[in-house]
Symmetry: C2
DNA sequence: ATGCCGGCTTGATCTGCATCAAACCAGATA
DNA sequence: TATCTGGTTTGATGCAGATCAAGCCGGCAT
């Protein structure tokens, strides 16, 4: 692995508090991999030998049952994934597929667990990352159980707006079918949901969406700090933990 | 706090690997509280100063939005809750209410975080607990998104059977309205779902349910190790982590 | 251009589940 | 014993969202 890559890793919040020895031990056997779009990284039930850190590209986490499939999260850089399985040395509960050409750092699970047991500061960072992921899922369950499909879409758009700088125009960062599955509906129904938001100033053109009447949309969406994580967009690598700690409010993510 | 209580705590998997010093520091300011049924322990958005450990009774975790309310989990002893918020020193994303008269250990969040930063072995145990909780939620989301209401109920019953020893008769451990909310449906619909399971040998009498044809029910439910956590019933205190690590398969819980 | 192919939309229909309303039932209270 | 109350059930109805089936459109290869 190149030193410039190592520097990027070292700057991750996950390693911020780690001793140098820990960092070296944990990343010693690590390697950086590039995958084309559409690559299956992991199937449900696979034993998990590595912690994955997405540095570039996009990865979809999915669950399946009886020929049905659903999107649990779409990850964007920088995100760890399947951390929980690694910490428990268990099999994965989610499948993982690249949506775009992606650059992924793979860290040995054994090394990670050894590092955690050796270095309390590092272990604490990992705990915080896990806690952030946990809270992302709590938000996700509340979103699913308490809101209708149109309400979920409206909130998705509002959150997207915040994440993309607050402008009137936002871009859906992946195919609509993936978005539909993420929001827990069929592609057909997503189309119709967009049509209903027409009355709230929402105009769709491919992946670009113009929020023509943000106030009206927001009155419909009624975003809540205890469901949606409206963490402001920041350029530095940001862990799930940081997003969750932000000023003591909270908000939504396509967080894993 | 009585020494006999302290011994119970010390035996929890969470503290199994902790040094004595850590244990004493973390539990130093802890106290054991009894609450009557129906007590609100925590509201959504409350700052969280304590880690709660349910030693006896039952606690419901809930989420709300726009006058609507849903049950996210029903906890039974021994369970930690709001651990993630404590680790991040954040506000709670869930409300917590006692369903029965309950005995709850409250541990200072500050003390817990200090202990984690001091003692890597303890910190690792906390990480594992968190990871277990995370996986419980992943199961929960998959259950919600991939299965219909009747399928969720069928799987709930199958899981209950395993948890209660495998016999033909099971007991719903709380009100049906709570179960309905936990499974993501209305009480009316839960009634009708039970009625549909009549064809699968399910007979309901108040909180007692007889599974007259377990094989047929199970063919309908199609339980999956990657959604349902069929951890066998064990008497010793068992953390979320242990349930998740069990033989490398997995299964469902009303896990938080 | 022409054709194909995959993702998206639109329309018609069907179904699962919610909603509203009333009856039922059991335990608590008077 | 009679009454009240809150949880549960049952019935009638409505709606959200799934499904099925064409069409549509844009990218890509021939």
């Amino acid at each position: 692995m190149r030193t410039t890559d190592l520097d990027r890793i070292r700057a991750l919040p996950l390693f911020a508090g780690a001793e140098d020895d820990t960092f070296n031990e944990v990343t010693g056997g690590a390697f950086l991999q590039r995958f084309p779009a559409g690559t299956t990284l992991l199937l449900e039930g696979d034993p998990v030998d590595f912690l994955y850190i997405l540095l570039d590209g996009q990865v979809e986490l999915q669950g399946t049952w009886k020929e049905k499939e659903t999107t649990l999260a779409v990850l964007r850089p920088v995100s760890t994934f399947i951390l929980a399985a690694v910490v428990l040395d268990a099999t994965s509960l989610m499948g993982a597929v690249t949506l775009d050409r992606s650059e992924i750092l793979m860290i040995s699970g054994n090394a990670l667990r050894r590092g955690m047991k050796r270095d309390a500061a590092f272990c604490f960072e990992v705990s915080q990352e896990l806690a952030g992921c946990y809270r992302g899922l709590v938000r996700s369950v509340k979103n699913l159980k308490l809101r209708s499909a149109v309400e979920r879409l409206a909130n998705y758009l509002v959150t997207l707006q915040v994440r993309q700088g607050g402008g009137i125009d936002v871009t859906i960062p992946h195919e609509k079918r993936v978005l539909a599955s993420l929001l827990g509906m069929t592609p057909e129904n997503l189309s119709r949901a967009f049509a209903k938001l027409d009355a709230y100033g929402v105009v769709v053109d491919g992946n670009r969406v113009r929020l023509g009447n943000p106030d009206k949309l927001s009155r419909l969406a009624r975003p809540s700090a205890w469901i949606d994580n409206h963490t402001p967009p920041i350029e530095e690598p940001l862990g799930k933990a940081e997003r969750e700690r932000w000023p003591l409010s909270g908000a939504q993510r396509s967080c894993a």
